[in-house]
């Protein structure tokens, strides 16, 4: 049977044909803001928002045009230009998968742009901030729209760059500078995987374009070995970008960036690029039940637990959310391991997560905004009266993420869990357990922040944020409320994605009363209750108590950094020192030594020139004897 992923229509017309505008607008915005510089300080942020909105409009129009088409025509390739002659052309692939990402990116992105107007209003460098945000949006869109791996890779690194710039936005803080560098370098480790993966792909299939790839594979199904290699390499790339084990360590430090950045890049969009990569390549390189698919599942499960555990111990609200992000993406990865159905729920969870996690982050940002940038939850407490709107929206996001029935998270997460259990009991139940932990740490966060008694610093005067910040919160929380139900019930998302990711043997059906589902709910409830018992009812010490071994373990990010430190950084530094020494003393030393040797021999030889005429005469006689001897010798050979 011919899998749908092989059918591609080429188009130039219509809004789809013009979908490159989506990338162009923000890019233009970034360029203007960066080139014109200070001149644009006054209106720069507005331009940024405008550009982001513009590409959102384009995305919506393209989306409408796409769903206007019959299902089998919903993969539209747009050829842009010849990139590397004889190897790859630059083109876009507008299909349900990419377009849904476009909507998420531009939609949530625009909201966060708007929010940032208020959040960054006091920052002298707001204009630069918006230029980076635009750059990010454009790169991210290129990532998801590109119809080949090279284009994807360019976007991939582009978002990496934007993330680097934005984490290091407050470059004068050494911690921020270091965090930015760390994020980039760790990501590069993943990029290595993606890069080598591309080597193998092009060598095996002679193309890097998704559509041709489909044909090539259909034409001659490749050996398992190559595909497994490709799959694992791509997975490495995904781990880097999506902060999955073992490349998770950068994400928590990335919170050094301004909160909107954490919301947009390190929660809603960029970090999910790994999931996109897996799903996009799924049809080619991650067939169900293949070892590489299993690897994806394991990574996902491991990360979702690790992230959750880290989340339980963090007092820094943003770091807590970061941990939860890791964990949620772990869920997506887990889902992405199990074929079309899994893809559906993974993408679904990705979208809903995009909403409620952005909601939560921006909420946290709003809290910090009111608490003059205090991030330690032990200095919060009882904020629900001080900032009601923020509280309300944050609370909705909270319910959504812990999977409270009928909210977004509930549908998508349960979908993943059930699919997982269908395919792999162990990992599935681990996911259930993870849900329970989620219930605990999210409740803990809510209780510590909004309930209980005030633990504010004396100079703190918490106040509600301006509308420009709260309106986006409301919109996002609305999404957090309803989106899951809309996507999952009656398989809307599944049907929509099928042309892009292929069809399953049997369409998924969401069961409200399934054993895993109920178990999940129960565990979540227990977790929430325990959180209430520890942080809601009881007094919260405003200084961190030195917790048990387990707590420290979690606080230290499961010793991930310590591991990198001792495993890579220190040996690396030693290696560098040795190499430098070797280069100066060894290689260069050899050269200089040779020179010195010649010089020395010269110094010795000139001593033979004693200045005594009789010595010279001797040398002449000597030479004469040698000459005669040699001649006789040669003559008689």
């Amino acid at each position: 049977m011919e899998s749908p992923v092989e059918i591609v229509q080429h188009t130039t017309g219509g809004m789809i044909g013009a979908s490159w505008l989506m990338i162009a607008f923000p890019l233009l915005g970034a360029a203007i803001l960066l080139v014109l510089g200070r001149m644009t300080n006054r209106w720069g942020h507005l331009l940024g928002v405008a550009m982001s909105l513009a590409s959102f409009v384009v995305a919506v129009l393209a989306f409408l045009e796409l769903i206007g088409l019959p299902a089998e025509q919903r993969r539209q390739a747009v050829h842009l230009y010849e990139f590397i002659p004889g190897m790859v052309d630059m083109g876009l692939l507008v299909d349900p998968l990419s377009i849904s990402f476009c909507l998420l990116i531009t939609g949530v992105g625009s909201l966060i742009h708007i929010y940032s107007i208020g959040y960054m209003s006091h920052d002298p460098d707001r204009r630069r901030f918006f230029s980076y945000l635009n750059l990010f949006v454009s790169a991210m869109l290129l990532l998801v729209l590109a119809d080949n791996y090279v284009g994807l890779f360019i976007g991939w690194e582009g978002v990496g760059l934007a993330s680097y710039l934005l984490i290091g936005f407050w470059y004068f803080k050494p911690s921020a500078a270091v965090a930015a560098k760390k994020a980039f370098v760790v990501n590069r480790v993943g990029d290595l995987g993606l890069l080598v993966g591309m080597f193998v792909i092009i060598t095996t299939f002679h193309t890097l374009t998704f559509s041709d790839l489909g044909k090539a594979i259909a034409a001659n199904p490749p050996s398992g070995g190559a595909v497994t290699a490709i799959g694992l390499l791509l997975l490495l790339g995904a781990c880097g970008k999506s902060a999955q084990l073992p490349l998770q360590s950068w994400l928590l430090d990335a919170m050094e960036g301004p909160t909107p950045v954490s919301a947009l890049i390190h929660a809603a969009t960029m970090v999910t690029a790994g999931v996109y990569l897996v799903v996009r390549s799924g049809a080619f390189f991650f067939p169900e039940g293949s070892p590489q698919a299993l690897a994806v599942a394991i990574v996902g499960a491991a990360t979702l637990l690790a992230g959750a555990i880290i989340g339980t111990a963090k007092d820094d609200i943003k770091k807590g959310l970061a941990g939860s992000t890791m964990s949620q993406i772990g869920y997506m990865m887990l889902g992405a391991a199990f074929g079309p159905v899994g893809y559906t729920f993974a993408i679904g969870h990705l979208i809903t997560h995009g909403f409620f996690k952005a909601d939560l982050f921006l909420g946290a940002g709003s809290v910090m905004h009111g608490m003059n940038d205090e991030v330690d939850m032990r200095k919060y407490g009882g904020l629900r009266k001080a900032m009601p709107i923020t509280f309300a929206t944050f609370f909705i996001g909270y319910l959504a993420i812990i999977g409270f029935p009928m909210l977004s998270g509930y549908f998508t997460k349960d979908g993943i869990i059930e699919t997982a259990i269908e395919h792999n009991q162990v990992l599935g139940w681990l996911a259930v357990l993870g849900a329970g932990v989620t219930g605990f740490y999210m409740s803990r966060m809510v209780f510590m922040t909004f309930f209980g008694q005030k633990r504010w610093a004396d100079d703190a005067h918490p106040h509600e944020s301006p509308l420009v910040m709260t309106v986006p919160l409301m919109v996002l929380s609305l999404g957090a409320l309803v989106l899951g139900a809309y996507l999952v019930l009656s398989n809307r998302l599944y049907e929509f994605l099928t042309p892009a990711v292929g069809a399953a043997e049997e369409a998924p059906h969401f069961a409200f009363t399934s054993v895993p589902g109920l178990a999940t709910l129960a565990l979540v409830a227990i977790g929430a209750a325990f959180a209430w018992y520890k942080y809601g009812r009881a007094e919260v010490p405003s200084v961190q108590p030195r917790g048990s071994f387990l707590t420290t373990f979690a606080r230290r990010d499961l010793y991930g950094d310590a591991l990198n430190e001792s495993l890579f950084m220190r040996p690396g530094q030693w290696l560098t020192r040795i190499a430098v020494y070797f280069d100066n003393r060894g290689v260069d030393g050899l050269v200089n030594g040779l020179a010195a040797g010649i010089g020395g021999s010269s110094g010795r030889l000139r001593r033979l020139q004693t200045g005594f005429a009789r010595t010279y005469a001797l040398s002449i006689l000597f030479g004469a004897a040698l000459l005669a001897g040699a001649l006789l010798l040669v003559g008689n050979i």
């Binding site: 004693t610 200045g611 005594f612 005429a613 009789r614």
Partner: protein, 98 residues
């Protein structure tokens, strides 16, 4: 019959060379060189006899003339040096070295 003469000339030449190497006084050194030239003359004459042609003997005359010229030049130089340094030792003139 002529080999003896050759051996003699060889000995003379060797003695001259040795003298150049071991004697310090410039005059003596120079005389040793002259000795070497005369050894050559002897050899020439001998070979002329051996080859039965006159060239060798003619050459001998040439050599004498050249040797005479050499004496003139040589003595001039050695005397100047002696006047300057109050010594005719070859080894004392040892400023130019290394």
């Amino acid at each position: 019959m002529t080999t003896h003469y050759l051996i003699l000339s060889g000995l003379l030449f060797a003695i001259g060379a040795m003298g150049v190497l071991i004697r310090r006084n410039a005059i003596v050194v120079f005389m040793c060189v002259e000795l070497m030239l005369n050894a050559c003359n002897l050899a020439f004459v001998t070979f002329a006899r051996q080859n039965g042609n006159l060239e060798g003997q003619i050459i001998a005359f040439f050599v004498m003339v050249v040797a005479a010229a050499e004496v003139v030049v040589g003595l001039a130089i050695i005397v100047t040096i002696f006047r300057t340094r109050r010594s005719a030792s070859v080894d004392d003139a040892n400023l130019l070295k290394y």
